[in-house]
């Protein structure tokens, strides 16, 4: 049993280790390691298309995760105040947002947005005073919105779980002591749910940063890092991709570890 488990861990980590190892390879070829070098990192970071894609991904992931953290937390707080039926409808929708395959989320968002633009753009053109009306199109906005859907559902569920285990006595004690609802929220509820909010934000960020398939449909002319990497992989494997893959892997691992650590934070009241 132990030997089998060790073999499975090797299976999980060996491919990743190889990519990291060959990102430091001096030579071009994947089959032999010809010496240590960081040249591929230099090449990757001086590639303007790649840096642009990286910046786009960082911007999109930050914005959609922030949006998800704020609105998802608000929704979790709201859901704690509604009846069983409203809750059931919401839970079903949130579950759907997580379970429906990304490829379907991607195409349905694409289809709906294109229809929406088809209505809004002529209208804007008709009411605009000059010849240059603003034109809605696919891009940052549509990727952020589509990522926001999954992320918001994730944050709502994580924060909702935390709210479920919140010590109600403290909330009651606080209002018995004539604290305003806002004060109770700020000094009792918020500190207790904060680790869940932060963890939700970090997981949302990781998801958005790593997502390929949804962005592939709704990105329009924009490029995100996974889209760029996908395109260059199809052009042929280059050591430069090993360097990017290593950077992305290390960054995701750090974020996930940070998120888990946040989730395990003890409640401040204990």
């Amino acid at each position: 049993m132990r030997a089998f488990v060790i073999a499975v861990f090797a299976f999980l980590y060996l491919p990743i280790a190889l990519v990291v190892l060959f990102s430091f390879n001096a030579g071009h070829h994947a089959s032999e390691f010809t010496g240590f070098s960081v040249q591929w990192y230099g090449k990757a970071l001086s590639n303007p298309f790649l840096v642009e894609a990286l910046k786009n991904s960082l911007f999109i992931a930050t914005t959609s995760a922030l949006l998800a953290a704020v609105f998802g937390t608000a929704a979790a707080l709201g859901l704690a105040r509604v009846g069983v039926r409203t809750r059931a409808v919401f839970d079903a929708l949130l579950g759907a947002a997580i379970v429906v395959p990304g490829v379907v989320i991607g195409i349905s968002t694409l289809v709906a947005l294109v229809q929406l633009f088809g209505v809004v753009n002529p209208f804007l053109a008709s009411i605009w005073p000059d010849d240059q009306p603003p034109k809605l199109s696919l891009g940052y906005g549509s990727i952020i919105a589509a990522h926001g859907l999954f992320s918001m559902a994730l944050v709502t569920m994580i924060v909702g779980t935390r709210l479920g285990s919140l010590d109600r006595n403290l909330v009651e004690a606080s209002s018995d002591l004539y604290a305003t609802p806002l004060t109770t929220f700020r000094s009792i509820v918020l500190p207790q749910i904060m680790p869940a909010v932060v963890a939700g934000f970090l997981l949302a960020f990781t998801f958005s940063f790593d997502d390929f398939i949804i962005a592939f449909f709704v990105a329009g002319a924009q490029t995100t890092l996974p889209i760029y990497v996908f395109a260059s992989i199809r052009r042929g494997v280059t050591p430069e991709i090993n360097a990017i893959a290593t950077i992305v892997l290390v960054a995701s691992v750090l974020l996930v570890v940070l998120a888990q650590w946040q989730l395990r934070q003890r409640k401040p009241s204990n």
Binding site: M1, F4, F9, I16, V111, G148, I158, I213, V253, Q260
Partner: protein, 287 residues
């Protein structure tokens, strides 16, 4: 009093409004849109043109290969994942030394949250011409083709989704009351019959959760068949990308997307039913 209730309801509505708007605009309305598209026609220049016809659904057999590959490789892949995952989950939950348990569990979770694209790419590298085939050539075994085969896709599936299978099985094994195992042994059961009658039986909810999660994600998979199947092992996800982004046949693509969602729903319901019947317990909630 009335003012208070009004304020309570107003605040609740305010808190729920953004998420509701998001769910409606980016989940419910788009889904209604593709449902409508799926009974429409392809416009001559590509895209959609209004109509009411079931022709798109009747045309589904045109993509039979994609459906066939998905419907075979998704359950087989999930099953392969399960066979590898179960012993790992068992070891982590019941045998691993206490102080190692959380570290090992974290090591299982980390790959799941790192980019599937990057992890699949790693296998392109290993299975591709300069990887294992080059090593085999050194010892005289020439012309081995590993990449762009169904086997490579299966390997990619097991690699990509293993963590997601281990986690729920671990959770259900971890909750298992160890006194039951002792009781079973005290009553003279062999280790095998204890495993089959107690451990395996009580971990079935976790098994079903893992199996249905992996199945559903595999139904919509695109990256693994593209990168490791090399255009030979098409999945439904590949057909959808092709229909929406290349041939711009939106109505046909919509019909396939609707079918995919229906199949996913059927899988979820079936999994729920089976696990309820088999163990009398509900599935393990991961979040």
């Amino acid at each position: 009093m009335h003012g208070n209730r009004f304020r309570h309801n107003f605040l609740t509505a305010l808190l729920l409004a953004p998420a509701t708007a998001w769910l409606v605009v980016f989940l419910v309305l788009p889904f209604i849109a593709i449902a409508i598209f799926s009974v429409g026609e392809r416009a001559p220049e590509g895209g959609y043109q209004a109509a009411f016809t079931l022709a798109q659904y009747a045309n589904l057999p045109a993509r039979a290969t994609a459906f066939w590959n998905t419907m075979v490789l998704a359950p087989v892949g999930a099953l392969a994942c399960l066979l590898v995952a179960y012993p790992v989950a068992y070891y982590l939950a019941l045998q691993a030394p206490q102080r190692w348990r959380l570290i090992l569990l974290a090591l299982v979770v980390i790959p799941f949250w790192t980019s599937l694209l990057m992890r699949t790419y790693a296998w392109m590298y290993i299975l591709g011409g300069r990887g294992i085939p080059a090593l085999l050539a050194l010892v005289g075994i020439e012309d081995v083709r590993l990449i762009n085969t169904p086997g490579a896709v299966l390997l990619g599936i097991v690699y990509g989704y293993l963590p997601l299978m281990i986690l729920p099985i671990y959770v259900s094994l971890e909750r298992l009351d160890r006194r039951l195992l002792e009781a079973s042994a005290d009553l003279g059961a062999t280790p095998l019959s204890t495993f089959l009658g107690v451990t395996l039986k009580l971990s079935l909810p976790g098994v079903m959760t893992g199996f249905s999660l992996v199945m559903i994600l595999l139904l919509g998979e695109y990256l693994i068949p593209t990168l490791l199947g090399g255009g030979k092992v098409f999945f439904i996800g590949n057909a959808l990308v092709d229909l929406f982004l290349q041939s711009r046949n939106w109505p046909f693509g919509s019909a396939i997307a609707i079918t995919l969602v229906l199949v996913s729903v059927v899988v979820l319901i079936a999994a729920n039913r089976i696990s309820t019947r088999v163990s009398g317990a509900r599935r393990v909630d991961l979040i």
